[in-house]
């Protein structure tokens, strides 16, 4: 019991942290996520120090400013003569807190305004931390939206097909087979071509997620349908029917309790697809957008094998993705338990 408690506590903390990161991304970052620095590409995370090169102790943490020495290997040398002292609540680029309050204070920064890169930079010298934080907003939204469409479509179609049976069942199953067999990549590109050439990033993202969700629901529908069929013939449902319960009652009272947990767990299993979809699409060069910060877009540079061997800090989004999926999973399990408790 304590173990479960610990797990739940951990999950809640992680979830709160993730949401906070998404909400406060500008406050927490030191540089704008989209700003490039072509002198600082693939720079490793800054080393935060208290001791300087002459052995003097500084009471405030500082970083040395760095210079590119070898572009081929992306090597940087610390300039020992240029110390950037870190301060809290410093002035930086202006932004709107929670999308409303115009502010320019940031949690950490340097007095001189020099970028620190606490988690290093990516291939065009953008701050990995800032991008990952900004990406949290986009990616969380996208994931939630994706699984919502997925769950809604899948459960609705599956339940209706299984419950109604007959020609409707047949038609819905044919449609789901058709959708499943559609070439998702091509569908995406074709839909893209239908839309105007100019497409803002969030619309492109919406299109991607929407398409993935619309192509992905049939397995869920099929599973739900199977379960409904199974339940329909289950003893207690037949008993309820025998006792004169009407369809709606049977569905809500006797089927939903078993259906909801199943749909929930199925949906959670599909969740990674929506975050990862963008990565896969990018790798296959069918990603829709060249710009914009989302975890998927950040992992695009996995195409460069050096990211895995040398520039590991570019895998930061994976950590965020893992945390998100872990939360979703644990919260989902808990939710399922709650569902079962209240409904049974």
């Amino acid at each position: 019991m304590t173990l479960r408690g610990a797990a739940v506590a951990l999950t809640r903390t992680t979830a709160v942290l993730l949401l906070a990161a998404a909400a406060l991304s500008d406050f927490l970052s030191t540089t704008r996520p989209e700003v490039q620095n072509l002198e600082m590409f693939y720079a490793p995370p800054a080393r935060i120090r208290f001791l300087d090169s002459e052995g003097r102790l500084h009471w405030r943490p500082f970083v040395y400013s760095r210079e590119l020495t070898d572009p081929l290997e992306a090597r940087y040398e610390e300039r020992k003569d240029r110390i950037c002292t870190l301060e809290f609540f410093v002035e930086g680029y202006p932004y709107r807190l929670f999308g409303l309050l115009p502010v320019n204070r940031h949690l950490i920064g340097t007095q001189t305004g020099e970028a620190i890169y606490p988690l290093g930079t990516d291939e065009l010298g953008r701050d990995v931390l800032a991008r990952a934080l900004a990406g949290a907003r986009t990616s969380l939204l996208v994931t939630l939206l994706g699984i919502f469409i997925y769950a809604l479509l899948g459960t609705a179609v599956g339940a209706v097909a299984g419950w109604q049976g007959g020609w409707l069942d047949s038609a819905l199953m044919r449609i789901s087979e058709f959708v499943l067999a559609l070439p998702a990549l091509y569908l995406l590109l074709a839909l893209r071509a239908l839309l105007p050439v100019r497409l803002p990033y969030w619309q492109a993202l919406l299109l991607t997620v929407g398409t993935i969700a619309c192509v992905a629901w049939p397995p869920l529908a099929k599973g739900v349908r199977g379960l409904v069929l199974q339940l329909r013939s289950a003893g207690y449902v037949e008993a309820a029917r025998g006792l004169g319960a009407n369809g709606r009652q049977i569905f809500v009272r006797h089927m939903l309790p078993s259906l909801a947990p199943y749909a929930l767990s199925q949906t959670l299993i599909a969740a990674p697809v929506f975050i990862m979809g963008e990565v896969v699409l990018s790798f296959l060069d069918v990603g829709l957008s060249a710009t914009g910060s989302s975890w998927g877009a950040m992992l695009k540079n996995l195409k460069d094998p050096r990211v895995l061997t040398d520039f590991w800090w570019n895998l930061t989004p994976l950590l965020f993705i893992f945390a998100t999926l872990f939360c979703l999973n644990t919260l989902g399990t808990q939710g399922k338990r709650e569902l079962q408790r209240t409904m049974l």
Partner: protein, 611 residues
């Protein structure tokens, strides 16, 4: 064999001296004897010889030495779609089909000069319209059947027929029409063009001479395009190249074996090629190719991207590999704006007329060029292995590149000043310049092709650079064919970033780009009459370039064209990526070139020392 008998000049590559030949005669080299005979027949002629490397005897001796035997393992990115060089354009196809086929004359990929090949010498008339090519005698196709002028005639017949789908046919057309080809005798062919051809016979490079006895029936039956397709049996495919097809396993490998009838010999009189076989492994992913090269499974890599180069460099010394940076190649990415004043089928102009009025100003394009941080791009995108470019051709093209052209180098202040000068100001302070009567924000949509990481990154930096001077650019990624369809057919775009790779160093083969009537005059193709004064001047200079026989006149014409281009910037060149090649140190006689395929072009000379 004694080195001091070789002539000291001409790179000591191809031209054995007469003296040298006489010395080897005694050993019984038949081609040398034949050559003397031919020499006797055609010695007194009245033509002026324009080609610089015309020889007085068949060029079958190469100044190389090596040992016979061995298998060379290389990678290609996709399955071959045909073994007929005439039908292929992709690098992967050409890498294989080029080894199977021989051309009449050949461009030496290192000296960039035209060299004799199946035609051992040629003459031009005074006007430079008519060329007489003398074919080598006694040569055989790789299936052992003899080669003669009939095969050449057949080749040209097929080449000119649109039904055969020959990819290189356009190169042979001069002002829209093909040359007349006539056979003087079994070993002499005449090519007559309708105007003087300044570049000589360079367009004949890589045009494969096809065996009439094998393909004539296919041509007659209309099955020419599929005759040497991927399902062809190795015995059906024959050519004049150093290798012939032995085996093809789909998705896995293509194996070529040495052509026992090949005509070149090495300095010691040993028949080339040295290698017994070349095995092409089909590896679609470039990272995988680099890893397999590093693991020693592949003998050479023709084109490494900077990322893989960086990874391999550390392993190079340990693994006994040679990596070489050949400097900027001929490929460049261009950014251009749609200046086409026309309208689509629905009557809607391709570009908003007010916006086009801005794009049409040279100052605008100069400002854009000044806004681009090419050094920064070279550093971050190409890891320092790319060279900023400002003209229509890459600085890697040493023979033709004009170093004195005005460079619109990175200068954001200058860019802003230029934009202000043409009335583009940011009145509402949102960071975006406004244009036109209604002061609309100047926003442009840039199309670029997906699938090329470096180009996608270039587009992103470009966006940032232009935002810094007040221009808003949206990047849209499309399939390569989709981008091509937009700038070649439908013209509905505002700006495009796309890569152009010339196949040869001479500008003559790119007239479609220079001429206002050309289909590759990207920004405004197929004009009935030159739209602007500078384009009219470009047309005039192009005409001088392609028709003049005087190298100095040709050069000065093209230098002037480059000056105009660099000032008007109809298409803004950005960076020429360096060509990086690598090979195992056990290989010999490798002579890397910046022309495709970089390494394998002299496959017959490559030799493998047993480790």
């Amino acid at each position: 064999m004694n080195l001091k008998f070789l002539p000291p000049s001409v790179f000591s590559l191809t031209v054995p001296s007469r003296f040298h030949k006489l010395r080897t005669m005694g050993i019984g080299a038949r081609p040398a004897l034949l050559a003397i005979a031919v020499l006797g027949l055609v010695a007194p002629h009245t033509f002026t010889v324009t080609a610089p490397s015309v020889l007085s005897d068949p060029p079958n001796r190469q100044a190389v030495t090596g040992t016979r035997g061995g298998n060379l393992v290389v990678a290609v990115s996709s399955d071959p779609s045909t073994f007929n060089r005439m039908l292929t354009s992709g690098v992967a196809n050409a890498m294989i089909a080029d080894r199977l086929s021989g051309d009449l004359v050949h461009i030496n990929r290192v000296t960039m000069e035209l060299e004799p090949a199946l035609a051992w010498k040629w003459e031009a008339d005074k006007e430079g319209r008519q060329f007489t090519l003398h074919l080598q005698k006694g040569l055989r196709f790789s299936d052992g059947s003899p080669f003669s002028a009939d095969d050449v005639l057949f080749t040209f017949q097929v080449l000119q027929d649109p039904k055969s789908g020959a990819v290189q046919a356009g190169n042979l057309r001069v002002d829209g029409s093909f040359p007349e080809v006539a056979k003087a005798d079994d070993y002499t062919v005449r090519l007559s063009f309708n105007r003087p051809v300044g570049m000589g016979l360079r367009m004949l490079d890589s045009i494969p001479i096809l065996p009439r006895h094998l393909l004539e029936k296919h041509y007659a039956n209309g099955t020419f395009t599929s005759a040497w397709g991927p399902t062809a049996a190795p015995g059906e495919v024959a050519g004049m190249g150093p290798f012939r097809l032995r085996e093809y396993q789909r998705g896995s490998r293509v194996v070529l074996e040495r052509n026992p009838h090949y005509w070149k010999k090495d300095r010691n009189g040993q028949a080339l090629p040295y290698l017994d076989t070349i095995t092409y492994l089909i590896i679609p992913d470039r990272n995988t190719e680099a890893l397999r090269f590093q693991a020693g499974e592949i003998d050479l890599v023709s084109s490494l991207n900077p990322e893989n180069y960086a990874g391999l460099r550390r392993a190079a010394a340990r693994q006994n590999l040679t990596l070489r940076d050949l400097g900027p190649g001929l490929m460049m990415d261009f950014l251009w704006f749609n200046l086409n004043p026309g309208a689509g089928a629905n009557g809607k102009p391709f570009v908003d007329p007010e916006k086009r009025a801005v794009l049409e100003k040279a100052e605008f394009r100069q400002a854009v060029s000044h806004a681009l941080d090419r050094q920064g791009m070279s550093r971050s995108i190409y890891l320092g292995l790319g060279t900023p470019q400002f003209g229509p051709i890459s600085s890697g093209n040493k023979a033709w590149h004009h170093t004195g052209i005005p460079a619109t180098a990175f200068n954001a202040a200058r860019a802003r000043a230029l934009l202000r000068g043409i009335g583009l100001v940011d009145a509402d302070g949102d960071g975006i310049l406004e244009f036109g009567l209604h002061r609309r924000p100047l926003e442009l949509t840039l199309l670029t092709s997906r699938g090329n990481m470096a180009r996608e990154k270039t587009a992103q930096v470009l966006r940032e650079n232009l935002a810094a001077v007040g221009l808003r650019v949206d990047i849209q990624l499309l399939l390569p064919n989709e981008v091509a369809a937009r700038f070649l057919n439908s013209f509905d775009y505002e700006a495009i970033l796309f890569g152009i790779t010339p196949t040869d160093i001479v500008p003559d083969l790119q007239t479609d780009l220079w001429l206002t009537s050309g289909k590759l005059h990207f920004w405004h193709p197929g004009q009935s009459a030159p739209h602007t004064a500078w384009e009219r001047e470009m047309d005039r200079l192009t005409a001088r370039l392609v028709t003049s026989l005087d190298p100095a006149v040709r050069k000065s014409a093209f230098f002037k064209m480059q000056e105009i281009w660099a000032r008007e910037l109809p298409a803004i060149s950005i960076i020429a990526p360096n060509i990086i090649v690598g090979w195992k140190n056990t290989l010999g006689n490798l002579r890397p070139s910046i022309l495709v395929p970089y390494l394998l072009w002299n496959a017959e000379e490559i030799t493998k020392r047993s480790p």
